[in-house]
Symmetry: C2
Subunit: 596 residues, 2 copies
């Protein structure tokens, strides 16, 4: 059964308690967003997720989207849910008030995103892509385009897409072929085929605004000749309402492993009118603005599904009775004990729990940096926030989606045979979560971004935004007797990370394949250290709260246990990653392609 109740207590913890000393808080511009207000917003968001979106998750998976006569229909109930979502102002949550948004801090917004993704990942893509598109338009489009499109997109009346991939190119966008021919009136006419366009066509909004990468006739080859265009499905009339069709047609919708209620379209552009966004041939820059925002959000998708999978597994593990506890009967009135008594079931539940709480803690930290980058009046803080975001964006994307999928995979295992049956709802989590490891740049690409771009940038400056607080924390708590195993574990893993950084930097300088061969393990290593740091911090805070006699002692006690579990059972992966990195590229690259 798909079970979900927003983890509001843990959300309040990562929002208000865990990162209070990170230097990214106390932003004047966000002072109105008190814990009381944000708590109320999150409670309302939880209701929408639980009551409106969750009930459509499984039915949406069963029904899927359909394409008939060029029209895509979303599953039953999606249109009504979207209207409710839009009318409730949820589309506009994080957008700039200048365009009708509510200017919610990202630290709060990312938590609402998590809830929506927990409840219905397919649904989340429709408003999610729109938000990404508005970011690029805000940052790069002309005032005229902004005025014409942003208010309708921010409100959710119109939706947005990102049109990058073509049949022959995904990661390697330099090869793309869609053409944009300049017209006398300053517009362009676009012609080409795009694939894998999420929300490329649907029945939720009256217009769809495509952001399309294309090549002008005089463009230099490769990625340096790609420009970004805004291409609406319907051309706005003078009064701003949708007018004539603009040559955008759906060739097919994809039959996918999961995410079936999200329409993934093959789109054809034929002499479609578009307008340049940003400078000619500088489309990748604008697209990366959008993509970086999206990458953090895709990480949150992984966490969202992981949380729903965890809760659904917990529900089953308490409900299903099978076998008896090894430490004595726990349910003497029943024919057997609930399976949550069994250590191997616990192992799976605690693993999911730790991954989710760890991801949420890191996500909240990065979201606070996003707010500080935007609103801090202190240039030093702003710069540090930028560095930290640059470093952590690929980590959030890849780590959270890896672990979110792993959590969904474990949920299936907790359900046993029943988990393999569609009716249980948990195999859907595994199928849905799978895509997040792939889109917005595969997790391998994230790892390359980390070691190839982020690590060496400015002589390692981005890394310092993370290494410094970890080093200071370890130093400050070295003598802690209660949590000696945690602090030692963190210190050791952090040491392995520093050593690995040195090794990769050194070897990678001479041979970039050495850095690339280490990339995925390095990303996992830094992710584990970040998780260890946030868990150790959380444990210290929890201890202090318990000493103060905090009301919700159960929450803090569980936090300490989960932290201990992380150090006992999950952080050891760091050693494996370190050893793998150390071994270098040779056995990985040795075989000739023909020998495969």
């Amino acid at each position: 059964m798909q079970v979900y109740e927003a983890p509001l207590r843990d959300m309040a913890f990562v929002l208000n308690e865990l990162h209070a000393d990170d230097g990214f808080g106390d932003l004047e511009a966000l002072s109105e967003f008190t814990p009381d207000l944000t708590g109320a917003i999150l409670e309302e968001a939880a209701k929408v997720a639980q009551e409106v979106l969750l009930p459509l998750n499984r039915s949406g998976d069963i029904e899927g989207c359909t394409l008939e006569n060029g029209v895509v229909r979303t599953p039953k109930g999606f249109k009504e849910a979207y209207d409710m979502f839009r009318e409730g102002g949820w589309c506009a949550l994080a957008s700039d008030p200048e365009w009708g948004g509510q200017g919610l801090p990202e630290a709060v917004n990312k938590l609402t995103e998590e809830m929506i993704c927990s409840a219905n990942l397919s649904f989340s893509l429709y408003p999610g892509l729109t938000h990404g598109a508005t970011t690029a338009i805000e940052g790069y489009a002309s005032d005229e385009l902004k005025q014409a499109y942003l208010p309708k997109m921010v409100s959710g009346e119109w939706s947005g897409t990102m049109c990058l991939t073509e049949p022959h190119c995904g990661t390697d966008l330099g090869m793309l072929r869609t053409k944009a021919v300049p017209q006398d009136d300053g517009s362009y006419k676009l012609t080409g085929a795009k694939i894998f366009i999420s929300a490329g066509e649907h029945d939720l909004t009256e217009n769809i605004v495509h952001l399309v990468l294309a090549r002008m006739p005089d463009a230099p080859p490769g990625v340096k000749g790609i420009s970004l265009f805004l291409v609406p499905k319907y051309l706005p009339k003078d009064d701003g309402t949708p007018g004539a069709a603009n040559g955008v047609s759906v060739q097919a919708i994809e039959h996918k492993m999961g995410l079936k209620a999200s329409a993934t379209c093959q789109l054809n552009f034929e002499d479609s009118v578009g307008w340049l966004v940003g400078k000619p041939h500088k489309g990748m820059e604008a697209m990366f603005t959008m993509m970086n925002t999206e990458r953090v959000s895709v990480g949150i998708q992984g966490l969202g599904v992981g949380e729903a999978a965890y809760q659904s597994a917990v529900w089953y593990a308490k409900d299903r009775v099978q076998g008896r506890s090894l430490s004595g009967v726990k349910n003497p009135d029943g024919p057997a004990d609930p399976i949550i008594v069994h250590p191997d079931v616990r192992r799976m539940l605690m693993t999911m729990r730790a991954y989710n709480e760890g991801s949420r803690a890191i996500g909240a930290w990065v979201a606070r940096a996003l707010d500080a980058e935007r609103y801090s009046s202190d240039p030093e803080v702003k710069a540090r926030a930028q560095d930290f975001i640059a470093l952590m964006t690929p980590v959030v994307k890849a780590l959270f989606t890896d672990l979110g999928h792993e959590a969904a995979h474990l949920a299936v295992q907790v359900y046993g045979g029943h988990g393999y049956i569609a009716e249980s709802g948990v195999e859907q989590f595994a199928r849905d979560a799978r895509i997040a490891m792939i889109y917005e740049g595969t997790n391998g690409i994230q790892a390359l971004d980390l070691v190839g771009r982020k690590m060496p940038a400015h002589m390692g400056r981005y890394l310092r935004s993370f290494f410094h607080p970890v080093a200071a924390f370890v130093e400050a708590n070295k003598e802690d007797a209660d949590f000696a195993k945690m602090i030692e574990g963190l210190e050791k893993a952090f040491g392995a990370l520093q050593l690995s950084t040195g090794t990769i930097a050194q070897k990678g300088m001479k041979d970039p394949e050495e850095a690339a061969a280490a990339a995925t393990d390095y990303l996992r290593l830094i992710g584990l250290v970040a998780m260890g740091y946030t868990f150790a911090k959380a444990a210290l805070i929890a201890r202090a709260k318990l000493a103060e006699g905090a009301e919700d002692a159960a929450f803090y006690k569980a936090k300490i246990t989960t932290a201990r579990f992380f150090f006992d059972r999950l952080l050891p992966q760091a050693t494996a990653a370190f050893l793998a990195i150390k071994s270098g590229k040779s056995s990985m690259m040795e075989l000739e392609a023909d020998a495969f």
Copy 2:
């Protein structure tokens, strides 16, 4: 694209070269099965897999099985393929000649099973379940039942099932409720509901023979009151052909994550006539005979899908061009290089490759033990083979299916966005492979079998059947200069395994939850050591063959590289497993169920 060509060279290697010194070979009774003959059989099996079964894999997934008016139809082409398979004698391959079988050594048979599972996992279940059922009948049924059923089942004219699970009990069979009421003629009438019955109903054979666990009226409670019954779908007439229907009806077929061409049925038995197999109340014993055979076969299923996933990923990685090699352009005439040049793609391909070759090597070793157990004239060899099989059965089941799923998961990642689309065929591998981690006892149950039953049995005697050859190998090759890293790595991991064994034995004696908390990590650890041992052995053999100037130098060179990759990149997981085991149960078991 689903690509598969049976890896005949590696199969010949594990069959004829790798284990020549294990003491399980040179069986008089199997002397006719020379490498020439077994090579010819494997080549024929490869043709059936590649030409008959593979083309039905994806179509079978798309179409699935259907239930209409109580009749289950398999997908188009399955009936014809099954007839061809049966007529070719492939159903009877490993069965006893006494019942019309061909008495093929298990060492060869398991390789044909791998091929069938690579080509079409859903199809493999129909003959696979039948073979499992014949094993139980051969071992436990009366002569009369054997005469009436075995010839038709061995030939594949009739198929078989295992009916264990009921809606409220799977792992905990003690709770099962199906009733068997004795009749005056010595038969029983069975009434009850069973679920998850693979091949429970279908249109491939004229009769289906169900082996059903049920409880007699006077049965003691729990697992000690369960008996095994043979219940045909149609009661045989005097001439042996199927006669009257026997009260077995299909309530539903399950909608599953994958394995869609395999009919998973909810069966209802209503006053169905059955005959006792084995002794009253001793059904679990007979069922475990069948289940142990099946568990090794399910392990092979994991390997089979892993191999097909690997080959399909290799095909794509050579075909798809995207980006340029970091070490210089490799495909100057194309717009980009094939993605196999990229280290992170290599990492995934090599991981799949190493897991598959490592599993195949272990599987062949266990299969040789199965032959020695049956045919050896030396009681010492026989006893050692039995010990080794007992120990390795849960390892083969859980390790191979974990890694097979991992391989399929990686194949999806190699394909990127295309891997998430059904058309690519690789997401099917991931969905299909998922079930093998669950059925025939979840992988968590396998781990408990390993630490709870196999490890402590006879004061660790089973373990010695594995520890002795590994220790001897390490000792004999300690000074090897070429492969120092491998031998040291193996020695270290083996040391961690021995330490873990001691820790678990000691802690588990006082507190069985300690052993259970360590179980999954311990199974992975022993699996990694077994893989390390077979890879190191393989590397030594390959070096010798190369020194001799063997013809297929490319094969042996690649074997050494793959072995090195295993030690560099995969064996380090052993350290993580060791550390996790060492941490004990406390943080895993501490949370009250309510705190979840």
